[in-house]
């Protein structure tokens, strides 16, 4: 938490923390930005890894995100938490990147097929497919510690980014459903539905290992 590292400045609660960040960004205070980079380096990289599935790309987008924070810092009003604003910038840059490269769309590829049964994105290649085809291990496989995590890493490879991102935002960043909705620019029911589908996929991989645990509804 930023508060933990900025205690010297007396930032006790989240509201004052957000205000301090907002003022710092408005002044383009590089010292505040440097502290934010340190505080969020792991979490932002992790989010970008969940979104892109590629280490190098995630690192490039990490830098771009912070440059954008510097340039657009005055748009953060400090009335809500900093994290959703930061993650929405990172997400928009990722979307722009993929649009430019015409490789995938986070909202329409495999994810949309699974979500809406729509076939409009048939020309686009799902990111999950790229990950699965690669010879070297995915970031998820490299990050897996323990048996369950190794199985989940396999699930992550084939899971569409739109599901991966809600999982990381909800369960790792601990954002509320409303905050996740704000980051991804979708209504709360859509977030709930993506969470359910994402968890379903993960549970299916865990269930394979423990077939005795039936989950059929009576």
């Amino acid at each position: 938490m930023l508060a933990a590292t900025l205690t010297w400045a007396g930032f006790v609660d989240q509201a004052s923390e957000a205000r301090t960040i907002s003022e710092g960004l408005r002044r383009r205070d590089v010292a505040i930005l440097h502290k934010l980079v340190e505080c969020y380096q792991y979490r932002l990289t992790r989010y970008l890894l969940y979104l892109t599935g590629r280490q190098e790309l995630a690192e490039d987008l990490f830098q771009e995100t912070w440059l954008r924070v510097l340039e657009r810092g005055s748009q953060f009003d400090g009335r809500s938490r900093f994290e959703p604003w930061l993650f929405s910038i990172a997400r928009n840059l990722t979307m722009d990147h993929f649009r430019r490269k015409k490789m995938i769309s986070l909202d329409s590829p495999a994810g949309a097929h699974q979500e809406n049964n729509s076939s409009s994105g048939a020309q686009q290649e799902p990111l999950g497919a790229n990950l699965a085809d690669r010879n070297r291990p995915s970031p998820f496989e490299l990050a897996a510690r323990g048996e369950d995590a190794a199985r989940l890493a396999q699930a992550m490879i084939v899971l569409a980014p739109i599901y991966r991102e809600v999982l990381v935002l909800r369960f790792q960043e601990q954002l509320s459903l409303q905050e996740v909705a704000r980051v991804i620019g979708a209504p709360v029911p859509t977030v709930s539905s993506r969470l359910r589908r994402g968890l379903e996929a993960l549970r299916a991989h865990l269930e394979v290992a423990t077939p005795e645990g039936g989950t059929d509804v009576h």
């Binding site: 383009r28 590089v30 930005l33 440097h34 980079v37 340190e38 380096q41 792991y42 990289t45 992790r46 890894l49 280490q55 690192e59 990490f62 830098q63 912070w66 440059l67 510097l70 340039e71 970031p139 998820f140 490299l142 990050a143 897996a144 510690r145 323990g146 369950d148 995590a149 199985r151 989940l152 890493a153 999982l167 990381v168 909800r170 369960f171 790792q172 509320s176 459903l177 709930s192 969470l195 359910r196 968890l199 993960l202 549970r203 865990l206 269930e207 423990t210 645990g213 039936g214 989950t215 059929d216 509804v217 009576h218």
Partner: protein
């Protein structure tokens, strides 16, 4: 037990939103899980999935933060220099406009006096006043404005790159 109750329990579990669930809902869920084996299994799998995600430990390049901080410092300096340059152009433009207006007001009677002494027609000296007094000063103001606009365009291209 109706399917709706199982679906309701699983919806609550999938939200993973303990603070967003009312105490009554939590108590109901607890009771339901106590009685329903499949939903308990579902809850356990969900918890394992969430814990499994938390156990991922990604490697972050140790130099990434330092590189990003250096890039931020450079960009901040660049933006500060651009801001100073814009501000200089803007001040120059304002001064040029001011000199055009005030200078013209002050010079006008002088030009009129000289024109009368030289017995020039009004259109002659007024044309001369426009060409040799108002136009140069207004041109300088416009050049400063164009310079500022060009500078903005260049900085936008740099930031896009």
């Amino acid at each position: 037990m109706s399917t709706d109750l199982h679906a309701q329990a699983r919806t609550l579990l999938d939200r993973g939103d303990a603070p967003g669930i009312s105490p009554a809902e939590q108590a109901w869920l607890h009771e339901h899980l106590r009685q329903c084996d499949p939903c308990r299994c579902y809850a356990e799998l969900t918890a394992r999935a969430i814990q499994g995600l938390s156990s991922f430990s990604f490697t972050v390049d140790p130099g990434l933060a330092a590189r990003t901080q250096a890039a931020l410092t450079r960009r901040a300096q660049q933006m500060e220099a651009e801001r100073a340059r814009r501000s200089m152009y803007l001040r120059g433009f304002a001064l040029a406009c001011l000199f055009t207006v005030i200078g013209s007001l002050l010079a006008w009677p002088g030009w009129a006096y000289v024109a009368r002494r030289a017995q020039l027609a009004p259109w002659e000296w007024q044309l001369g006043f426009s060409l040799f007094w108002v136009l140069p000063s207004a041109s300088i103001a416009m050049l400063l404005l164009v310079g500022m606009a060009l500078g903005n365009g260049r900085s936008n291209v740099r930031s896009l790159a």
